[in-house]
């Protein structure tokens, strides 16, 4: 099919470009094992892969606590989004009702409103609810998601209407049909949306910055900022150890779910 020289050229391009893309991560990984003097020398490989910096970073920051917070918040948003979006998508696909187009338009319109344009009143809402430094303050505003609803709606639409009718004849109620048939059949897109929700929440920066004023529910991303501003110039090894700790869970998630995510997102993107 492809000639050998062409193949070699391809691999050459692939290796060079992918290394360029991945280099900063690799670099950070190497730095995370280096001592201060080593970093000053400007080496690429550390003398030894000692975990000293990792131990230090956990000592200097309640990093374990932050990791747990990040996990709770990400998992919370993920589950919340799955529940709220799948219910809405189900209504759009399987229930005929007046005003459906209007409500659908309402959902679309939320996509045109950037989150940052509403963050000031949102901050005060959370403050009034006394939800600063709480998990619900970090998660609840993100449960409803137009993109997620559309993604699931696309998948639900591929379920044949006859399945619903067969269920009706069998005597299955509406919610039971949703729970016992629609959700299990749509496992793949639920996984896609779940991974997407988890990833974006784990990486969220601005909202936790506003909402967490102490370390009780602070997430790792804010922890990183804290670490970086505390450690100026002195201990880059420790900072990078922190970076590696923070990115490993999401990188793993991405590596496992890459194929799924790529398929699911490009389907949801285009109706």
């Amino acid at each position: 099919m492809i000639s050998l020289p062409k193949k070699i050229g391809m691999y050459f391009l692939l290796i060079i470009t992918s290394l360029l893309v991945f280099f900063p991560v690799l670099y950070a990984f190497m730095i995370s094992f280096m001592t201060g003097p080593e970093i000053l020398q400007g080496r690429f490989l550390p003398h030894s892969f000692s975990l000293e910096n990792y131990v230090k970073v956990f000592e200097r920051l309640p990093l374990l606590n932050y990791l747990l917070n990040s996990f709770i918040v990400s998992a919370g948003v993920m589950l919340g989004q799955l529940a709220v979006c799948s219910l809405a998508a189900y209504a759009f696909v399987f229930i005929q009702f007046k005003g459906r187009d209007f409500i659908f338009f309402l959902f679309i319109s939320t996509m045109m409103i950037p989150w940052e344009a509403t963050m000031i009143p949102n901050f005060f809402i959370i403050q009034k609810l006394d939800w600063l430094n709480t998990y619900q303050g970090l998660t609840l505003p993100f449960f409803a998601l137009a993109f997620g609803t559309f993604l699931l709606r696309q998948h639900f639409k591929t379920i044949p209407k006859e399945l619903q009718e067969a269920a009706q004849i069998a005597g299955l109620g509406r919610f039971a049909f949703f729970w016992r048939v629609v959700l299990p059949v749509s496992k793949t897109s639920l996984v896609t949306l779940g991974a997407y929700g988890f990833l974006t929440t784990w990486n969220m920066y601005l909202w936790p910055l506003l909402i967490t004023t102490n370390s009780s529910v602070r997430t790792v991303q804010i922890g990183l900022k804290q670490l970086q501003s505390q450690e100026i110039a002195t201990d880059w090894g420790v900072v990078m150890a922190g970076v590696i700790v923070v990115i490993v869970p999401t990188l793993l998630l991405l590596f496992i779910g890459q194929k799924q995510l790529q398929k699911g997102l490009s389907q949801g993107a285009l109706k």
Partner: protein
């Protein structure tokens, strides 16, 4: 008879009522956290506010007038515009290039796909910290490379001439992962038969790229262009960690400017006015996408 029609109406609306039940969580959350705050933002933009963010003095369009005259805001708009211009086209071309490479059927291609998409799994905060180090004036990698090549050192993040460009470079890197993933998905949705038939016709690689791949990819490309544009306007984390809007305001992008105005200077009125302007910009981008998208894009 009357009772029957009433009964009938109640029965007929049963679907509407159940649908509402399923939609209720979304509608409630959208109302509280999207629609109300949006109106509130617009409302606040006409006021001067107190420290707690309450409207204190109605000033009409004065906030906007103030913004348009303020050189800081104009500077911020200019920086945002330049930032979008630097990051979006290059970012998309780069991701498209990676996606085209990774779409070839070669052994071990999955590994390369994983590497290309990796930046999607790295948070803005983590990326920014990594790049902060790479931009470091003395021990950062870039200046070391420059010194090895006997070139003058650059104050990447400290020189107003360079700072925006540096931030843009790191942003391009952060965004390639997501764009790559979406574009690769789009490429893989193109029907294999189209290539086979063109190969029978003897079409070369670039001919196929121009005549089949890009037209068939156009919906995906269009989608990712829009998303990238919106994302670029919303950039915040990298600014907060890399430059804090400096040096001399050269990287004070609009969201960072809103953040600073509101949560550091407590000027919620003018911050809201900026937020409204951000909203209008995003609105225009989205509407353009709908308008152009219908005409220009070739859907399968």
């Amino acid at each position: 008879m009357n009772r029957q029609t009433k009964h009938g109406f109640w029965k007929k609306s049963v679907n509407g009522r159940t649908a509402l039940l399923y939609l209720f969580p979304s509608i409630l959350l959208f109302s509280v956290f999207v629609f109300y705050p949006m109106f509130r933002t617009i409302y606040l933009s006409f006021f001067l506010t107190d420290q707690a963010g309450n409207a204190a003095l109605h000033v009409g369009l004065e906030n906007y007038g103030y913004l348009l005259e303020s050189s800081a805001f104009r500077n911020s708009m200019k920086a945002t515009g330049l930032f979008v211009l630097y990051t979006v086209p290059i970012g998309i071309i780069l991701s498209l290039f990676f996606a085209l490479l990774a779409n070839e059927k070669l052994k071990g291609i999955g590994f390369f796909r994983t590497l290309y998409s990796s930046t999607m799994g790295i948070s803005v905060a983590a990326s920014s910290v990594i790049w902060l180090f790479m931009f470091h004036p003395s021990i950062g990698m870039f200046n070391r490379v420059l010194s090895v090549l006997n070139l003058p050192q650059i104050q990447w993040l400290l020189d107003p001439e360079w700072a925006l460009l540096s931030v843009s470079i790191s942003t391009i890197w952060m965004n390639t992962g997501f764009s790559f993933l979406i574009l690769l998905g789009g490429l893989q949705n193109i029907d294999e038969h189209l290539y086979e038939s063109s190969r029978i016709d003897g079409a070369g690689y670039f001919y196929r790229l121009r005549r089949i791949t890009l037209p068939m990819l156009s919906p995906t490309l269009f989608f990712i262009i829009t998303i990238s544009l919106i994302n670029a306007f919303q950039s915040f984390g990298q600014i907060d960690i890399l430059t804090k809007g400096g040096p001399s305001q050269s990287t004070n992008l609009i969201v960072y400017s809103i953040y600073r105005e509101a949560f550091i200077n407590y000027q919620f009125g003018t911050a809201s006015a900026q937020a409204v302007i951000l909203f209008i910009i995003i609105l225009i981008v989205t509407i353009l996408q709908f308008k152009l998208g219908e005409r220009k894009v070739h859907y399968q």
